[in-house]
Symmetry: C2
Subunit: 341 residues, 2 copies
DNA sequence: CTGAAAGCGCTAACAA
DNA sequence: TTGTTAGCGCTTTCAG
């Protein structure tokens, strides 16, 4: 009720003095270790709360050689994909008493190197790397001081690396099967630039689903372009130049899908009556604002983040994990494929 | 060339041993403090790099009572508004050698309290609070251990608090003046829910700009509703029920603006020929995908984050700042108001 | 110009 | 059952 709380918080020694015991005793009392008389324990506890004592993690970390801290290095400038991942990650780590350092490298290797340096200085227990796209990236400066690392929504060249990614192929197959199950026969695919690995995988999924259903694959129904609404509108125009336009379209992302919907509306084509459309990303501001609302594939990025947290905790615990893990996507049905979802 | 780099990084003592000097000397050599012979200094430096030595920030922090660490507590679940703020903040802090702990409280006071506790344990040097909306919030558990704190895009009741916000009123006035300068005479305002402080301020800015131009204020031209595209479409329908529809609309955000554009297109009204529209937020995925691309007000959230970083650094340095600071918005002209921007 | 030693706040092994 | 002490890795007097 009188110690300096403002400038420097009370130390364990202050608590011990206040309770009239030794330093070691106070430590034992608060760490429920050793054997102490209940009365002593209580007295120390009381002093601790009276003084507003909070153990200094820095000192603990220094002692035990573990900081309960991990660094997250993002190359998405904290963008749309990183956010839900961060959220999941943070929630799992926080639950385990681990705090998260946030760094933004923006695909600049020099910045990344500086961040890693800083984090190593802070003696983080592990690293998480996140990307703007799920493609393979050059190894990050390599020297992580032997600390565990996990790559989420991003891939690494390093042989022992652990990568966590959404199952793009499965997601696209999911969308395609959904349309097939609704009786659609001519399903087109309008996607992003082919130099994205995700684009290639999604196309593979689309093709695999068609093949599995015994449907022919018409190359005239597959188009690649930028990830924009404008491209969606343009692609739609092209598709309707065909002698047999499609009765369904699997879009590579939600923005393209919106462009497609826009084009369909402009032409007076009924959705989903004449043409059904699926998006990809399940970016709610897009899917729910679209008219009609857009059926989309959710990559479950928050779950990806949570899983990353759990795996990293295991690695910090000593397990050594590596390889590439792909987590399943989910289909979220809305009115662009089903009249009354 | 042989010390354990993997499990436990080399310590200053290792460096000293390797260079054949005492611990204190090694410290001086690496911290460019005291007076040392150049030769000694170089030798120590060489050993340090040879061993891959990196000072342990935990030990330093423990010693000097400053951790070079701040905590960011977000109530936006790392959402759209928090992202650019974080980016600016992180970049300024990183430049100053300060690392950023990320916490997500999601408007749950209990979670917030736990996060503050954890951060106090980590001996952060300061706090940043970020909100999902810029309204006043209840004080966060109050006890920040006397550490400096700054509220960005969020307000606090605490008397000594420092709050950093965008100038909503000025932003709306900017949009209105822009339309006036283009010769528009009947300018409507379609915005979000009135219980948002930002909505009230933007409306004030709209009204002030009209008054300053000597234009009458027609209550029939002002509408409030949800922050959605659907509301934008509905509001447009209402406006066109009037005997004299507007020739320009200041929207409360970009989504509403898109709804308005959509409605205008549906009616075959030329934009900006017959009606010009401005958005608010300058959310690029919205503004640039709109057709025509949307003129919008940018709240400069990244700059807000940067400024928050600078101010917090000053507070950590001992200055005591408080009050509410509003940073100016900017108008980004696009084709929804100007034919060839 | 360099070395020795105290101490930041805490834990754990060892004494009492 | 409780107290004493030696560090964790670093900086900073103060001696030498």
């Amino acid at each position: 009720m009188s110690r300096p709380t403002a400038l420097s918080p009370p130390t364990l020694r202050d608590v011990a003095r206040h309770a009239g015991v030794s330093l070691g005793t106070a430590s034992k009392a608060l760490n429920r270790s050793g054997t102490l008389r209940q009365e002593t324990r209580d007295r120390v506890r009381a002093s601790a709360t009276a003084l507003g004592f909070r153990p200094n993690d820095l000192a603990q970390a220094l002692h035990r050689g573990q900081s309960f801290t991990v660094g997250l290095i993002s190359n998405d400038s904290f963008g749309r994909f990183t956010m839900p991942i961060m959220e999941g990650l943070e929630s799992v780590l926080h639950e385990a008493g681990i705090a998260l350092f946030m760094c933004n490298a923006t695909d600049d290797p020099a910045r990344e190197r500086k961040h890693i340096d800083q984090l190593l200085g802070k003696r983080v227990d592990g690293f998480v790397f996140t990307g703007r796209r799920a493609d393979r990236r050059p190894a990050p400066g390599l020297d992580l001081g032997g600390l565990p690392a996990i790559h989420v929504f991003s891939r690494s060249d390093l042989p022992g690396a652990l990568c966590l990614l959404p199952d793009d192929e499965g997601g696209a197959a999911l969308a395609t099967r959904h349309l097939l199950s609704l009786g659609r026969r001519r399903i087109a695919h309008v996607s992003g630039p082919e130099d994205f690995e995700a684009v290639r995988l999604r196309r593979l999924g689309y093709e695999a689903a068609l093949a599995a259903a015994g449907r022919p694959l018409d190359p005239a129904l597959v188009h690649h372009g930028p990830w924009t609404e404008a491209w969606g509108r343009e692609a739609l125009a092209r598709l309707f130049l065909l002698p047999h336009p499609p009765d369904a379209i699997v879009a590579g992302n939600d923005q393209i899908a919106r462009g497609l919907l826009d084009g369909l509306r402009g032409r007076g084509v009924a959705v989903p009556g004449e043409v059904a459309v699926t998006g990809f990303d399940n970016w709610t501001v897009m899917t729910e604002a679209a008219s009609p609302p857009l059926t989309s594939i959710d990559m479950n990025l928050r779950a990806l983040g949570e899983q990353a947290g759990r795996l990293l905790i295991r690695m910090i615990g000593g397990e050594s994990l590596s390889g590439t893990i792909r987590l399943p996507c989910t289909l979220v049905p809305r009115a662009s494929t089903i009249p009354n979802p």
